[in-house]
Subunit: 349 residues, 2 copies
């Protein structure tokens, strides 16, 4: 393996001191470094194929130009766009990200925070899921730069980026309501996940806003955000409240599961049952019927979180906004129709 070219090598070749070379290459060294001597050094360094050793620089400067990214599971289609968004702002600034998967386990999260620390990351972007996890808050409390994604943090000054879930849920609710649905069930997300909580709260607020009694509406919580739970919970809803004409699901995968369930028992969507999702995951437009859902801007969320992080690292901690809410928008496809037996449908039929 070829030995790498170091500052010393370049310096020796030019008969100058390493510090001189270091300064000549130092990015921001005022315009002063446009002197011809510096020019010659840079030229020579490039020609020799010099590449700075960021590990050494990191040790000395206590800045590794590395950002830790913690997420539950990169396999979940939600996260890759976030990662790309983060990367899109980090990379041009010379940072790289170090991605770890927590599998939503508090224990793993604790370990992984240590792993990231040992490797000297300059900050952590935390794509949170658990509605409460002390670890990352502890880290932030020490003054270490942290930005969270998808979770509102109340009792701290950790900046966070979230999507406007409340508005999103309200939008689907409004849509269902405008189609004439009054028996709207909520297939809720897991109670220990922040998005689950948030969306449930938004559902209840919307119900009230539209003059429906929240307690009269059935809410069936799921244990995981997956199709299996969607099927199970949909069955439960149908059993508990056969009068239900629409199921507002906390995310797309639950909605997909619900869809499968109703199809399997011969209840047509959207003719006999309207179903909505959340997130607008890829490929959703392929399935039949196209799922009406809410599109969230994952890429932008990642990019935003990364910019906030960079601002913090630039020392402008005070200037970074505590809260950033990204707009979402309703994506109407075919999974919502007027309820069977509604006035309009009788007229049409």
């Amino acid at each position: 393996m070829k030995k790498r070219v170091t500052l010393k090598d370049v310096a020796a070749k030019l008969g100058v001191h390493t510090s001189t070379v270091s300064r000549a290459l130092g990015l921001s060294n005022e315009a002063a470094k446009s002197s011809e001597a510096a020019m010659r050094i840079r030229e020579r360094a490039a020609q020799m194929g010099y590449r700075p050793n960021r590990v050494a620089a990191g040790l000395r400067k206590q800045r590794t130009m590395t950002i830790g990214v913690m997420l539950p599971d990169i396999t979940n289609t939600l996260f890759p766009p976030i990662v790309r968004g983060i990367e899109s702002v980090l990379e041009p600034r010379g940072y790289v990200s170090m991605i770890v998967n927590t599998d939503s386990s508090a224990e793993r999260e604790r370990q992984l925070v240590d792993v990231l620390h040992e490797r000297g990351v300059d900050g952590i972007i935390h794509a949170a899921v658990l509605s409460s996890d002390p670890t990352i808050l502890d880290v932030a409390a020490t003054g270490f730069p942290v930005v969270t994604l998808n979770r509102k943090i109340d009792g701290s000054n950790v900046p966070y980026v979230i999507n406007d879930e409340t508005f999103g849920i309200r939008s689907v609710f409004a849509l269902l309501h405008s189609f004439g649905h009054r028996h709207i069930a909520h297939l809720a997300g897991p109670a220990d996940l922040s998005t689950g909580q948030l969306r449930l709260a938004a559902f209840q607020r919307s119900a009230r806003e539209f003059g429906l009694e929240p307690n009269a509406l059935v809410v069936e919580p799921s244990l995981r955000f997956d199709e299996g739970e969607g099927r199970r919970a949909a069955a439960a809803i149908h059993a508990r409240a056969p009068e239900t004409t629409a199921v507002l699901c906390a995310n797309d995968r639950l909605a997909l599961g619900a869809l499968q369930h109703f199809q399997s028992v011969g209840i047509d969507c959207p003719q006999s049952m309207s179903i909505t999702g959340f997130n607008d995951m890829p490929l959703l437009e392929m399935i039949k019927p196209g799922l009406t859902t809410v599109r969230v801007q994952q890429f932008r969320a990642g990019a935003k979180a990364a910019s906030l992080m960079l601002e913090m690292l630039d020392g402008a901690s005070d200037a970074v906004p505590h809260e950033t809410i990204l707009p979402v928008h309703l994506v109407q496809r075919e999974s919502v129709a007027r309820p069977r037996g509604s006035v309009e449908q009788r007229l049409a039929g």
Copy 2:
């Protein structure tokens, strides 16, 4: 921000030299380190919350315990499982991965190799796509540890892990043939991507094997592995060869596009047109008709590549197999049926 505890701090507190502490904590220091002195040191270090600084260790040891992972785009559903597979073997051994997205650009790839080098990664796992890209080969040629995924490398000794694409394509071909299809078109992948090439070659070999003249079968190459190209190419196939009864697609997304096209022009799948995919991407079971495809084991491929990498790093380079082929298997769903007008169908009809 709390200052981190260093070896020196621990040493000072115990009145010993840093090197003593270092050795006491050094993982593999023979059983010798079970001495009570070492025990006390470890205990004390843990109690003080000592965490080794891997940056410093990396500088000194020229081993950062970091593996670079290059892939085209983490957003592509193929890659997250690979990443988890890699992580599953790296993490228990104390390594972390540094993921970069090349967007299939040779230029970006060149830059990113430098980025990874600067950060002192111990090796690179390259989830290749381009059927030829010199950069990574150059890197490997210098003796730097490289393992590639999904691409066969001929003129070098870089270990690679691939799925048994040839067998997979042959399996679908055999299935279509057994259903009575004789006018089988291939919706091929981009010619500059290795998987595109490989699958085309496998298609032609299979045709010959089953007694069909490869040149008589229509092959429509796509420019990208996406639904849009799938639609376009499917239309082209239909126009060029209306007698086609089955389209064997180079991957699932192309198949999805083809499906969309045929549906849009009123050609029913599978009644009038059989379609097959490749990869078995998630959510595929949700669409109608379920796409018959080939499942590849991405997680295992990643895990395997990572093990090979670790073997190389352990100095067992010679013992590392040059080629690893992972089995794939056919997943039959509903998108394949007997061709319209076949003897069997006439009998059934």
